[in-house]
Amino acid sequence: MPMPVPELEITLPARAENVAVIRHVLGGVGDVLALHPEVLCDVKLAVSEACANAVVHAYAEGQPGLLDVELSTSPEQLEIVVRDHGRGMMPRADSPGLGVGLPLMAGLSESLELTNRSDGGTEVRMCFATREPGVPLAAPGRAGSGR
């Protein structure tokens, strides 16, 4: 199902303290959408990881940069895009990370898409199912069967 125009867009300086702003906002989104606490926890963790990657890797040391976060919802899905305008994904021999970020995001989200943007920067697109964990998607044509 195609996502509509984002319901929420945040652009802020790509600095470590602003990852907390995004987490805090996601808490509010979770309240409004009545997300299951476990789902909200996964969303916060995965999005924090994507934002932290942008803060740590996107821009050269001392270079200011921006971080964009967009959020769209559909009845059963939450899509979050984290975007930077930095130097794009590249191997880093001096990377300070443990290398678990991408597997973590992939494991916590329903789908994960990473893109090196043509105009520079990296885009991380994550989708999360908003249903309670363990509850399967309703089978098409079965809804309203009275069972």
Partner: protein, 145 residues
């Protein structure tokens, strides 16, 4: 009421602001309150002024969506030591003043004007306008404002 280009006189750096655009609907209140609250804390506003800032955010969330263009409300927030600035808009013409007046309580007046240190409506060009609100660590007595 001051007019002029938003941001033109405040020396704002685009790498020093948080910009939020939220669709008119249930997300506006919770998102604005959280963004403003965390920036107020970061600005080291004392607790009473932090509460004032969140009250102002709630008032904006309640009134400003009615004057948003394209069903989306843009708000930018900048915090510095002991101060917080909110810029709401562009809003539809006349919207800035109506947001302020709409937040009035009997015998109190506009909550926004009572709690903020400065409240201005600025022409944004292109038919829109901006409501610019500054909240400082210490609220100056009304007579001195």
């Amino acid at each position: 009421m001051a007019t002029g280009q938003p941001g033109a006189s405040s020396g704002l750096d685009r790498f020093d602001r948080t910009r939020v655009t939220v669709a008119v609907g249930p997300l506006v209140g919770p998102v604005l309150a959280r963004v403003v609250g965390i920036h107020a804390a970061r600005a080291d506003l004392p607790l009473d002024r932090l509460n004032d800032a969140v009250l102002v955010a709630d008032a904006i969330a309640a009134r400003a969506p009615a004057f948003a263009m394209d069903e989306r409300l843009p708000v930018s927030v900048q915090s510095g030591a002991g101060r917080l600035e909110l810029r709401i808009g562009p809003l539809r013409p006349g919207g800035g003043r109506l947001v302020i007046e709409g937040a009035a309580l009997p015998n109190v007046g506009s909550v926004i004007e009572r709690l903020a240190d400065t409240v201005r409506v600025r022409d944004g060009g292109g038919g829109g306008e901006y409501l610019v609100i500054r909240i400082d660590a210490t609220l100056e007595p009304e007579a001195e404002r």
